[in-house]
């Protein structure tokens, strides 16, 4: 059976093609203004990679912030269900999973059968999410992809104490003016994100192996900062952004 999971996030749209429980293709595009348009594009891009025609697809499901814009999907699947399913597919022994997307960070705890038993989500403020890190990267004039590497050179992280993403940016600018090294500021930013994630994990309680997904998981500095705070290793999938789309494709295969 061929299923496609499409995850329309606040910043990126992801599509994953699965055949009998195995990933055979995926595609990631910037969401932009039109969810409906990008949904078509990302779907076709993923199929073209493996030269599969849309008529050969058995089931299409959508998830994420813009799941309602995927008009050709047969089913919409709640984001958290996809996170749980996708995360377990990548790390079957995992019980605690973190997802940090552009605007949302969510921690979930699963029982032994993979059912979500508790969750916690960031509220009101984007501090600690992908957009927060992008803003900081711009303020520091550092490419997003270099943030983790540069932070690893830090000799002493500075404190970023503000609760608000906008005020935190002012704090960063003030550190720049005080000639604090970019590495130390970045390490401080990563610690502040880790602190936020720790708050979510504290609410649900950590159990078993821990995994992470979402675009921010590609930033090794953030992952390391969270690992240091919880004292446990964190599993990062090779492509952490597609985890929810994988979960979506798996879910629709099961219920079809």
């Amino acid at each position: 059976m061929i299923t496609v999971g499409i995850d329309i996030g606040a910043l990126n749209a992801k599509a994953v093609v699965m055949k009998d429980g195995t990933i055979i293709s995926w595609s990631i595009l910037t969401t932009g203004d039109e969810g409906a348009v990008v949904a078509q594009k990302v779907f076709h891009a993923a199929l073209e990679n493996v030269q599969i025609s849309p008529k050969d697809v058995d089931q299409i499901a959508s998830t994420g912030y813009g799941k309602e814009t995927v008009l050709f999907a047969q089913r919409q699947v709640p984001d958290m269900v996809c996170q749980a399913k996708g995360s377990r597919w990548f790390l079957p022994s995992g019980r605690t999973f973190i997802d940090i997307g552009a605007e949302t960070s969510r921690a979930i705890r699963l029982d032994g059968r993979g059912k979500v038993v508790d969750f916690a989500v960031n509220d009101k403020c984007a501090s600690g999410t992908g957009l927060f890190l992008e803003t900081m990267a711009k303020a520091l004039e550092v490419p997003l992809a270099d943030m983790g590497r540069l932070a690893s050179l830090s000799k002493g992280p500075v404190a970023i104490s503000s609760m608000c993403a906008v005020f935190a940016e002012s704090e960063v600018v003030s550190h720049i003016h005080q000639k604090v090294s970019k590495s130390d500021i970045l390490a401080g930013i990563h610690q502040s994100v880790a602190q936020r994630v720790l708050g979510l994990l504290d609410k649900i309680g950590i159990e078993g192996d821990v995994g992470i997904s979402g675009g921010v998981a590609r930033n090794g500095g953030v992952v390391k900062a969270i690992e240091e705070r919880i004292g446990l290793p964190i599993f990062v999938p090779e492509e952490p952004q597609i985890v929810e789309a994988v979960g979506c494709a798996l879910f629709v295969a099961e219920v079809a």
Binding site: Y65, M80, V121
Partner: protein
């Protein structure tokens, strides 16, 4: 009914009756027994929030220096006191405030009293420190205050309260209360005949009109209607899948939120909102009975009472999940919700969503986030 009541309040004021600004959990049956015109200010804020007109009053209080992090109900009433003649309700002649459900109401009402230069009475309701109904010393303490309150009201109104009149008001309050208990019994039916969204509106007379004929007549009609629905097997939604308990008041400016679970086959079958004031009064000893009702309220005491009430609802209403709305700035509701959540999960294995928001201040409301939280929560029950 609310509209009619406010119109009656204005007419009564013009006819020379005294208007009392008070709180929802005050002894409103006693005020009705005196022929006074009680206005439950939180209810007025609920109406104003529903009409999207409360922000102006919140801003007025904020401009005086009251923090946006403080309870919006209290900020609103401080705002009302600045423009008392612009409101849908009449200017007060007296204020009656209490320490339940929160002691901050006494502090914010002081602003009203000093600004308007009117007499007030503060009823100090002691915190119920043990699980159960409270103790004799607390009942003695409140009964003494209620006697003093009667003297205060007699002096202010020139009316002597007879035991017949008080007995009549308490009798009516108990009848309304008994009818409501029967309605709640009917609501245990599957499918759910009356939702928590209905309850939020229909519980109004319990708060505002205890001790009146209107409340009794109203609940007779509601009982008949709910009974009819149960007999016909009519549910609030088609294909009910998840029966959900709602804890706390709603976001009054966005009541549609109470229907969001219905997109997934969920229905809010019950809330604890009515139990803020739902209680029987001993007719043989009415003043002491009123005090007992106020002390024993589930929000005026240790968290164990809240856990017991939620447990009961979960069992009696066959609940699959709980949404606890945590009003910003509220220490009473917000403080114990985690304990309720943990207790319900441990005993029944059911999930609780603690949804943070404001009951009347819509400036912090983000609908997409709330929808997304509710969807996550429903996923836990799938």
């Amino acid at each position: 009914m609310v509209k009619q009541y406010y119109a009656w309040c204005k007419e009564s004021k013009q006819a020379g009756k005294k208007v009392v600004w008070t709180v929802g959990l005050g002894p409103n049956e006693l005020l009705h027994a005196f022929g006074l015109v009680p206005i439950f200010l939180e209810q007025y804020s609920i109406v104003m929030a529903g009409r999207h007109q409360v922000t102006r009053y919140l801003e007025m209080a904020e401009n005086l220096g009251f923090s946006r992090d403080s309870c919006s109900y209290h900020r609103a009433l401080i705002g009302y006191a600045l423009e008392p003649d612009e409101l849908m309700i009449p200017r007060p002649d007296l204020v009656l405030t209490t320490a339940t459900p929160c002691d901050s109401s006494s502090k914010s009402f002081i602003n009203v009293v000093t600004r308007l230069g009117i007499p007030y009475y503060y009823l100090d309701i002691p915190f119920n420190c043990a699980e159960g109904a409270g103790d004799t010393h607390q009942f003695d303490y409140v009964e003494e205050q209620l006697k003093e309150l009667v003297s205060f009201l007699e002096k202010e109104t020139g009316v002597s309260l007879t035991s017949e009149r008080l007995g009549e008001a308490v009798g009516l309050a108990n009848r309304a209360n008994d009818l409501w208990a029967k309605i709640n019994d009917l609501r245990k039916a599957v499918p759910c005949p009356m939702t928590a969204a209905d309850e939020m509106g229909l519980a109004y007379p319990l708060f505002q009109l205890p001790g009146t004929e209107q409340a009794v007549q109203f609940y007779e009609r509601v009982l008949a209607e709910v009974g009819e629905r149960v007999r016909k097997g009519e549910g609030a939604i088609a294909n009910e899948r998840y029966r959900i308990l709602w804890l706390g008041p709603a976001a009054w400016y966005h009541l549609r939120l109470l229907n969001y679970v219905e997109d997934y086959g969920g229905v809010l079958v019950k809330s604890d909102f009515d139990y803020l004031t739902h209680g029987w009064i001993d007719p043989k000893n009415p003043l002491r009975g009123i005090g007992e009702k106020m002390i024993s309220g589930f929000l005026n005491g240790v968290v164990g009472n809240r856990i017991q009430l939620a447990r009961r609802f979960v069992q009696e209403y066959r609940i699959n999940g709980v949404i606890a709305f945590s009003h910003f700035g509220c220490r009473q509701y917000g403080g114990g919700q985690r304990a309720v959540k943990d207790a319900l999960f441990e005993e029944f294995g059911i999930p609780t969503l603690i949804l943070e928001g404001d009951n009347i201040d819509e400036r912090n409301y983000a609908d997409d986030q709330v929808r997304s939280r509710i969807e996550d929560f429903i996923s836990l029950m799938m």
